[in-house]
Assembly symmetry: C2
Homo-oligomer: 187 residues x 2
Amino acid sequence: MLGNLVPAVQRSVIEQLTSRPKLIVMDTMNFWMDIAMEELMKTIKMVDVLTINDSEARQLSGEYSLVKAAQKILAMGPKVLVIKKGEHGALLFNKEEVFFAPALPLEEVFDPTGAGDSFAGGFIGYLAQTRDISFANMKRALIYASAMASFTVERFGTERLIGLSQEQIDARLQEFIDLVDFEITFA
Amino acid sequence: MLGNLVPAVQRSVIEQLTSRPKLIVMDTMNFWMDIAMEELMKTIKMVDVLTINDSEARQLSGEYSLVKAAQKILAMGPKVLVIKKGEHGALLFNKEEVFFAPALPLEEVFDPTGAGDSFAGGFIGYLAQTRDISFANMKRALIYASAMASFTVERFGTERLIGLSQEQIDARLQEFIDLVDFEITFA
């Protein structure tokens, strides 16, 4: 998991590895698009999953439609793209499929700082624990990611994450399951 | 289904009915909150379901959090509240439950005019056809509503809706099902 950092440093981390990991996830931001686009493009080419937010996806691709933006960005190298939309959820794309993880409607957002990092940690943590990088498992990882971010914003810093029990995490995951649970059958 | 109109006229429609319908859905907008809030509050009190967008829910309730806004608005009379978030989907609330219908990520939004009316039509149309006003069925109705709105924005006016086949509608509904389809099981 390459946290958001100077793209050249992210690339140097990959180049120092003697064997390539099964999965490289990279987070980045608009700042590097503004000042180091060439370096950024070289690094993006080397990773499996890129995570950015919606306005960054638009900036990187030059497309307003996130569907079009995703396909352009997937042509730059990554096999999977995560587009984070903050309080509006997150999208997961590969070349053929799309998945949407909702954000949980919260009573109060105390401090959004760290939501993106918690999201990234939840995503890679779930994939590392389950050792399954299929698209179906990445969908689950995106829900875990969203759940961790939903905890983080409820307090300052990592306060809400410290001492979380598995029961609390499972209860939060269940809220995500219930939030989009519906059944439609066709005649 | 009371389309968005002067609140006093909406109320007069209800008062002209000799028997009260099983379900009254009301659409309204910020304009009436600005110029006719007192009339609006009287009309809202008489309906079962209110549909508004996110900024209108905030204006009507004075709460930024949509969860808090929903509970305040449900205390004004309606048993169910739909909060439309445009390209970010829609929320369905009653006093105990919340459901989220995603918006379909589209290649191109040709013209968003009429999306809200198509949404309302899809919602009430599905409920009228199925004659079931349970929360579980309203969740399905919200997906139908979102599907109809997703067609409307693909062309001007009603062009995309005219001549739609059941197969095309079912295929679109299947896209919504797939979009949020994931499975998490607990140990």
